[in-house]
């Protein structure tokens, strides 16, 4: 209602100010099935003008774009891809609440021309809302290639809506789609969709209900799309009944009496049948398939990819490739960004600040706080971009659904979904892309549970910590010890999965009713747009938190200003204050505790902090390169990064970098840990709270601090418990301590 009022006001304003209604922004909602090419269509239309966020209060992604077309302002709102508008998934609730309450001027319904019948089932439901609809008959090129002939004019005739054939990947028909949309939006009355006939029994019941309802609740019927409301009442849709505050309408039973007698008790099935009959009937009328059906490419590929014997090896190979491409390809660029912020950028900042007479602490704040903070965000950008690109490719190509199909048995046995495998796998490289990859899961339960377990996968940032400690305490069986930590993470993930399943995520297990879409080559443009949106989102949204924490840690390390000994800094004081907590687990020293605090930024920083605390370096006077040399380095090292990435891709051997000598640090650590407490410490580093970046990713993905908080608390508790068992258990077994 409020929206309608707003529109009236806007029109009035326009008239008063002498403009025509043409100045008004037209809101267009885009609805369609998953795999109907809807995202590609939106990306093709709006491109980088898309703004990505979340729908209020839910983990469902919201995309919007504001742009001009034909001299008119259009606001495009992408609704989540759904098969139906029934209220059983978050996506469906979001989509229908938007359509019912926000009443866009127009709906563009994206329909997969190669899969007409099931797509039209949603169209039929959308038409119930009485909002003007334009159908984008998408993937039309592929349908034509397959020899399908679709009579779009006949479809327009039967539905009373405009139908425009499009191909989002080839970018054809898009201008006509928008032009048609504008034409329809300007004359909504003449272009209202037809009221479809659901069969006599349903229509009679509906008419009866309309009369009774109008007399009893006149206000309600004007505020909702009437046809839609009546049908929902007949289905006794819980969501709608609750929203309207209705239950047990006696006239509803009377209205449904005859329908039940003739067709059985289950009204929901009767309605689904009626809608599907319309969709089937329409498909029969307008679609002509060739008599001879060729074996399709998808069948051929699936014969191999889902083969009983080859299915799993192929899956493993695909996963290996995904992992390798995501991490190895992005690593040189991450390293490059890291080296740039460490070297030239800091030198430039000093070069600018020092002559201006800036005090030392300002230079340090800018260099070690701000630039280091920005750097810690930027180093993640390549890996996030790479992950998004390849995940989107897997999804768009259709292989993601097959991967889930192959892995579901295994993952389901520990309470997860087949699609949980990929986020977990990516977690071994870096937990952050792992958490972002949970977006491929549809069910919010599956999604959150997977994201909570991903940080138990031992990521690349923990490795430097293991390497340092193993080198000191377990030099003869280093790889066994490191493997044991990876295995520990996996076993605890399985255990925690089962515990969460019985506590936080109790209730019915999410289902696995999933379409296996035909294989398609995703359009490069759409892949890039999608990757860019996500990367940008990470940079500005998650980046803010990461940056803030990084600056905070600088303050902890350097205040009170001028501290001589790290023990006296706020960080040292904080470390000393919490050290007793670590007494029972074997490393109750302020040095260890302080390192763990800074490790919150990224776990490998534990090593850096230990270096500073245990073996502080003397300020060496290094030769400062000139600006020209710096600029040259920026360019040449980027070139080197590109070469490295290409080499990785081609699997060429690369020279290993020399590790710096850490003799002083090793001796100091060797003196303050025992092998047992060192192992407990490594386990603690593996398990304790996810790094700030992972937490920011969870906050951003789930739109609330709740799950990030749960992750933080349970993991820290788990880490302490595990370290306690290792240390005290080890002592009982006489392993020293």
């Amino acid at each position: 209602m409020s929206t309608q009022l707003k529109h009236k006001e806007e029109e009035l304003d326009a008239e008063l100010s002498g403009h025509s209604a043409a100045a008004r922004t037209i809101t267009v909602a885009v609805a369609g099935n998953p795999n109907s090419g809807k995202s590609t269509l939106i990306n093709a239309i709006a491109g980088t003008r898309l703004h990505v966020g979340n729908w209020a209060g839910v983990t469902v992604e919201k995309k919007e774009a504001l742009f001009e077309f034909g001299g008119r302002k259009i606001r495009l709102v992408d609704l989540p891809g759904t098969y139906s508008l029934s209220p059983y998934s978050q996506e469906e609730i979001v989509a229908r609440d938007y359509l019912v309450h926000e009443r866009p001027d127009l709906i563009i319904n994206v329909v997969d021309a190669t899969n007409l019948e099931r797509n039209l089932y949603l169209t039929v439901q959308i038409m119930e809302l009485g909002i003007p609809v334009v159908m984008a008959l998408n993937i039309y090129d592929e349908a034509t290639e397959k020899g399908y002939r679709i009579d779009a004019r006949a479809m327009e005739e039967m539905l009373g809506i405009a139908v425009v054939p499009t191909s989002a990947t080839k970018k054809t028909g898009l201008d006509e789609l928008l032009a048609t949309a504008l034409r329809v939006a300007d004359a909504p009355k003449q272009r209202a969709p037809k009221k479809l006939n659901y069969g006599e029994d349903i229509e009679v019941a509906c008419d009866y209900l309309a009369k009774s309802f109008r007399t009893s609740y006149p206000a309600l019927i004007d505020n909702y799309p009437q046809r839609w409301l009546l049908l929902k009442l007949m289905e006794q849709d819980d969501h709608v009944m609750k929203e309207l505050g209705l239950d047990n309408l006696d006239f509803l039973d009377q209205a449904l009496h005859h329908l039940r007698r003739a067709h059985g008790e289950d009204i929901e099935s009767i309605m689904a049948d009626a809608r599907y009959s319309l969709a089937s009937g329409l498909t029969r009328e307008v679609l002509h398939k060739p008599e001879l059906r060729q074996t399709e490419l998808t069948e051929k590929i699936d014969k191999l990819v889902l083969n009983r014997f080859l299915g799993i090896p192929i899956f493993m190979a695909a996963m290996w490739l995904l992992f390798k491409l995501t991490f190895d390809l992005s690593a040189p660029f991450g390293d490059w960004i890291g080296a740039m912020t460490e070297g030239p950028f800091k030198r430039w900042a000093s070069a600018i600040l020092t002559p201006l007479g800036a005090p030392d602490w300002t230079v340090s704040l800018v260099n070690d706080g701000i630039i280091a903070g920005v750097g810690s965000v930027l180093v993640f950008v390549p890996v996030i971009f790479a992950m998004m690109f390849f995940i989107t490719f897997l999804e768009g190509s259709g292989y993601m659904a097959r991967a889930a199909f192959v892995m579901d048995r295994t993952m389901h046995s520990i309470g997860l979904h087949g699609k949980s495998f990929i986020p977990m796998l990516l977690g071994f490289g870096c937990n952050v892309p792992g958490i972002y990859a949970t977006r491929t899961l549809e069910n919010p339960k599956d999604k959150v549970l997977t994201a909570l377990l991903v940080p138990l996968m031992s990521c690349g940032a923990r490795l430097p910590v293991y390497v340092l400690f193993v080198g000191i305490f377990f030099p003869s069986n280093s790889s066994t010890v490191i493997w044991s930590l990876y295995i520990m993470g996996i076993l605890l993930a399985i255990g925690m999965g089962l515990i969460f399943k019985r506590t936080l995520f109790r209730g019915e297990a999410p289902m696995f009713i999933m379409e296996l879409p035909p294989y398609r080559m995703p359009s490069l443009h759409s892949l890039c747009v999608h990757t860019w949106e996500k990367g940008k989102h990470f940079l500005f949204k998650a980046g803010t938190y990461i940056f803030a924490v990084s600056v905070l840690v600088w303050f902890l390390l350097n205040l009170p200003w001028g501290v001589e000994h790290k023990r006296d800094s706020y960080l040292g004081q904080a470390g000393a204050a919490i050290a007793p907590i670590f007494q029972p687990v074997g490393f109750g020293t302020w040095e260890a505790a302080s390192s763990l605090i800074t490790g919150v930024i990224a776990k490998e920083i534990v090593v850096g902090t230990m270096g500073e605390i245990y073996a502080p370096k003397k300020d060496e006077k290094k030769e400062v390169p000139t600006l020209q040399e710096d600029l040259k380095e920026v360019a040449t090292s980027f070139g080197e990064a590109c070469v490295k990435a290409v080499k990785t891709l081609l699997y060429l051997p690369q020279a290993e970098e020399q590790e710096e000598d850490r003799a002083g640090l090793k001796a100091a650590i060797g003196g303050s840990f025992t092998p047992l407490s060192a192992y407990a410490f490594m386990a603690f580093v593996l398990l304790y709270m996810p790094c700030v970046v992972a937490i920011a990713a969870m906050r951003q993905e789930f739109g609330t601090w709740k799950w990030a908080g749960v992750g933080l608390l349970y993991q820290t508790a788990l880490a302490w418990g595990a370290a306690l068992i290792i240390y005290q258990g080890g002592r009982l077994l006489g392993l020293g301590g």
């Binding site: 019948e117 099935s269 299915g311 199909f405 389901h412 289902m511």
Partner: protein, 75 residues
């Protein structure tokens, strides 16, 4: 006879859907309706889930979910 027991390549006609609540609703929305013809295409390499063809597209579901769908074997 239920859908979970059909072998790959076997076709059946759906006689009833025993599932309730969201699962049933979801099945219906995906076109799994009484009277519909369904063909089992594949079983996943590890034995579960299964892939079926219905309404000229391919759908996968766990055996447990398919158990509630009664079918009459057709050819």
């Amino acid at each position: 006879m239920n859908l979970a027991k059909l072998k790959p390549g076997q076709k059946g006609k759906i006689m009833s859907i025993g599932s309730i609540g969201p699962l049933k609703r979801r099945l219906m929305d995906m076109g799994v309706l009484v009277g519909e013809e369904v063909k089992v295409l594949k079983v996943a390499p590890l034995g579960d889930p299964i892939e079926v063809s219905i309404k000229s597209y391919n759908l996968s579901l766990r055996k447990k979910e398919a158990e509630g769908i009664a079918v009459e074997v057709a050819g």
